[in-house]
């Protein structure tokens, strides 16, 4: 039996006290334990930013790469060895800003990884610039007149492009979040969990109090994740209420199953027939 504590890591944490990321790490551990997934079966991949430091704070295999590029790394790793569970931690700037194009491509590939976006609506590690999910008008040191772009809606985007598993979590609701992550890991295909994450140092608008007043659980309220139209509605906050939970889920064919060759097992493990290669080259 894998326990959450097995993922306990004694490397010094580098986040601010009170940061919403702590809740996310706990939820991840819970989910991994719930699925009885040992570290040997799990690969964490991340970009660059506060969110992207996450893998350092769990005891696991990980690859902490470049700002914006985690999904590409994760895709390569998953294709190479599709027997392992691949979890990706990215910030909102990381995933929807620098990495926006890979986000689109991951949805289209339906690559079987679980993407956790620590969506704090701000660039944390670089000290508080507006992010793609910051509201228009969000004031920062460098956006004195407020952010000029409209915010991206990642949930709506994913739904519009046919994503099969789309959820919105909240760092303050660890149980719900842990359960969403578990479901995401179980889902065969690309799963997006956009996580409302509080940044106590740079986002003084979207605080714990702010979310507490707004976030509500749609599944508890009877939402059926198979209902695309309702999902599209829940993609957008309604007035002051922010829907959280599993917004949409449908059956899909994950990417590695779309590659005929991989039906024979993970690429890494497949036998390489020297004779066959030699004769193919001879006849080429």
């Amino acid at each position: 039996m894998v326990e959450a504590a097995d993922y306990q890591c004694d490397f010094e944490n580098k986040w601010c006290p009170g940061c919403g990321n702590f809740g996310i790490v706990n939820a991840m551990k819970d989910a991994l334990a719930a699925l009885d997934l040992p570290a040997e079966k799990v690969l964490l991949v991340s970009g660059i930013g506060q969110a992207a430091k996450t893998p350092h704070f769990l005891k696991c295999n990980f690859f902490h790469g470049l700002h914006g590029r985690a999904l590409a790394v994760a895709t390569g790793a998953k294709i190479a060895n599709h027997d392992i569970s691949v979890l990706v931690n990215m910030g909102d700037g990381d995933c929807y800003g620098e990495g926006g194009n890979h986000f689109l491509a991951a949805i289209r590939r339906n690559i079987d990884i679980t993407l956790l976006v620590h969506d704090n609506r701000v660039y944390g590690l670089t000290k508080g610039q507006a992010s793609p999910t910051s509201d228009r008008g969000f004031v920062t040191r460098i956006q004195a007149e407020g952010a000029r772009s409209d915010p991206m809606n990642p949930v709506a985007l994913a739904l519009s492009q046919g994503a099969g598993f789309v959820a919105r979590g909240y760092c303050g609701s660890t149980d719900q979040l842990g359960d969403l992550i578990r479901q995401g890991l179980e889902y065969p295909g690309f799963s997006l969990i956009d996580i409302l994450q509080v940044c106590v140092s740079f986002n003084h608008v979207n605080t714990y109090d702010w979310y507490r007043e707004r976030a509500f659980d749609i599944n508890e309220n009877g939402h059926q994740p198979g209902d695309l139209q309702a999902a599209m509605k829940y993609a957008y906050p309604e007035g002051d209420r922010i829907p959280t939970g599993l917004i949409y889920r449908k059956e899909t064919v994950p990417f590695t199953q779309r590659i005929r060759r991989l039906n024979a097992g993970p690429l890494l493990g497949q036998e390489y027939d020297r004779q066959r290669v030699q004769s193919l080259i001879r006849d080429a």
Partner: protein, 568 residues
């Protein structure tokens, strides 16, 4: 002198110039001849002007010739542009119904004959027939090739093509041609391959299992050739959403444990440069082919250059070790790919293999058998190799700088890697000791890497003057040296394959033997020349540079060097 004849086929893109070329090339190959076919085309799909230059010989050849013996002009433009290149005794077959042949031009109603044989599309076959007939080839040669090519199509297709070929042959029957020659009836020498295909085969031989790419001329064909084997081997070729994704996917796949590569050209390489550094600091083995074309920026997308050398050498912030290998022949390219994957794994570094459009898109005979390496060492450890897997440190300090590499999710040993500076176990660290330790660890691999480096190949190394180049121009340089020697210039050649780590001592020694050396490069600034100065202190006398996007002819190199010699 044996056979040495060049046929040039020119027309619009979409007219099937390449098909004519391929038919001729196959016919030559079937007859046991050697050949080299160089493609010249614009960045468009239809129209414009393109041509293929096919040099045929009874000995291996490694360079195109500037002289044209037989020009096949499928349009007026080709005739006007290239007629002056036709050498003494040469002829032009010109697609025209006008008639009125003269000493040079032989009008043949190629299109009309094609239509008669079943359709315009057969024009290529008509042209090939006429051409082979002029060259004195036995009719059966082309027939054989057509049977191979169209054998599995509808019977009618083959029939029509055979008729088309015959009408081409007949159209020039009895026309005298000085450059016709006696066709041998030998078994084919080696294999007829393009540079792109050889690179792909080399990757296969090295057990490459994953390739990601974003289409970019002239690199795409490497991937096209590789993807052909996807169904038959444990191999996945994935088109990425851009070059940044491609290189990061390759890093991910390699980190997870399979040999992986990408191929691109200038602009794509630029986009990959951040990823190159990531492979550097995470010590993830990757192989990256950069097939060069002229820039800056989009430049001349379908043309050739050797102008990214310094960029490849210095791409990405800060210092880290890498290999740069530039094969000078098809045979070398196959072996270079095998070496590239081996070196990447052994030293846990990125390896750049660089070629160019001329190299990738040209066809030639590979004379050496393409043999798989004896065995492949992945230089990987597992739990069983460790005293205590729980204590495994991916970036442990070692004397060689190379740390034992375990794969993630392959045992109890946790594999942790970061693009930030890190401590031995892979966790990020800003400690001075970790920083210096890891930098020194990475940099000190260069010592071992230096020993792997091959000395540039030389011909007539004792020559008074040496011609120095790198990569694909090796063939032209060698042939130009022969010309120079025939003209009484005591010349030799130095052709670099391995450029980085730089073979300092050996190159210094070679260069110290000559009176003067000349750089021969397809760029505007003699990039290798300055690198030689940097690393050896030796300075080239002059540089023969070509940067118009077209490959060198041996003769133009020889001419320039001779002119320089005359004033020096």
């Amino acid at each position: 002198m044996g056979i040495d004849v060049t046929v040039k086929i020119g027309g619009e893109a979409g007219q099937g110039i390449q098909t004519v070329g391929e038919l001729l090339a196959q016919a030559c190959h079937q007859s046991g001849l050697y050949l080299m076919a160089v493609n010249d085309f614009e960045s468009r799909i239809r129209g414009g002007h393109s041509f293929m230059q096919l040099r045929i010989s009874d000995r291996p050849i490694r360079a195109p010739d500037h002289r044209v013996h037989l020009l096949i002009a499928l349009n007026e433009w080709t005739l006007q542009t290239h007629r002056s290149e036709v050498t003494q005794g040469g002829r032009v077959i010109f697609d025209s119904e006008a008639g009125g042949s003269d000493e040079l031009i032989l009008p043949v109603p190629v299109t009309k004959l094609a239509r008669k044989a079943g359709g315009r599309i057969m024009a290529n076959t008509v042209a090939a027939g006429a051409c082979l007939s002029m060259l004195g080839a036995p009719v059966k040669t082309l027939e054989q090739v057509l049977r191979q090519r169209f054998g599995d199509k509808k019977a009618e297709v083959l029939e029509n093509n055979l008729n088309a070929a015959k009408s081409g042959v007949e159209a020039v029957a009895g026309v005298p041609f000085d450059w016709a020659f006696q066709w041998p009836d030998r078994a084919p020498a080696g294999k007829l391959l393009s540079g792109a295909r050889v690179l792909a085969l080399g990757a296969l031989a090295a057990q490459c299992r994953f390739a990601a790419f974003y289409p970019m001329s002239p690199a795409t064909d490497v991937m096209v050739n590789l993807s052909e084997f996807e169904a038959q081997l444990p191999l996945v070729v994935e088109q990425a959403e851009g070059e940044i994704a491609a290189v990061n996917m390759v890093i991910g796949a390699s980190f997870a444990g399979v040999r992986a590569m990408t191929a691109t050209s200038g602009g794509g390489f630029a986009l990959m440069s951040e990823g190159l550094g990531l492979a550097g600091i995470t010590e993830t083995p990757i192989v990256l082919i950069n097939s060069q074309r002229p820039g800056p920026a989009t430049g001349l997308p379908t043309r050739t250059a050797q102008a990214d050398l310094r960029f490849m050498l210095h791409a990405a912030q800060d210092d880290f070790p890498r290999f740069i290998l530039a094969p000078g022949s098809l045979e070398a390219a196959f072996e270079t790919m095998v070496r590239a994957f081996e070196l990447a794994d052994k030293y846990q570094v990125p390896v750049i293999v660089t070629t160019d459009q001329y190299f990738n898109d040209s066809l030639a005979i590979v004379d050496k058998a393409l043999e798989l390496p004896e065995g492949i060492d992945r230089h990987i450890v597992g739990d069983a190799d460790m005293d205590d897997p729980a204590a495994y440190k991916r970036f442990a300090f070692t004397d060689s700088g190379v740390s034992p590499r375990a794969l993630p999710c392959s045992g109890k040993a946790l594999v942790m890697a970061s693009g930030n500076e890190h401590q031995e176990d892979g966790h990020i660290s800003e400690r001075i000791s970790d920083r210096i330790g890891q930098m020194d660890k990475r940099q000190c691999k260069l010592e071992g890497m230096q020993k792997e480096v091959r000395v540039p190949e030389t011909v007539y190394p004792d020559g008074r003057v040496l011609l120095v180049g790198w990569g694909s121009t090796s063939g032209m340089i060698r042939e130009s040296v022969e010309m120079l020697r025939a003209w009484g210039v005591d010349a030799g050649a130095v052709c670099f394959t391995d450029i980085w780590p730089f073979p300092e001592a050996e190159v210094t020694e070679i260069l110290d033997h000559c009176r003067r050396f000349y750089m021969v490069e397809q760029n505007a600034t003699a990039q290798l020349g300055w690198l030689i100065r940097e690393r050896t202190g030796r300075k080239f006398a002059q540089a023969v540079l070509k940067y118009d996007g077209r490959p060198f002819f041996p003769r133009e190199i020889a001419d320039k060097v001779k002119a320089y010699e005359e004033v020096s």
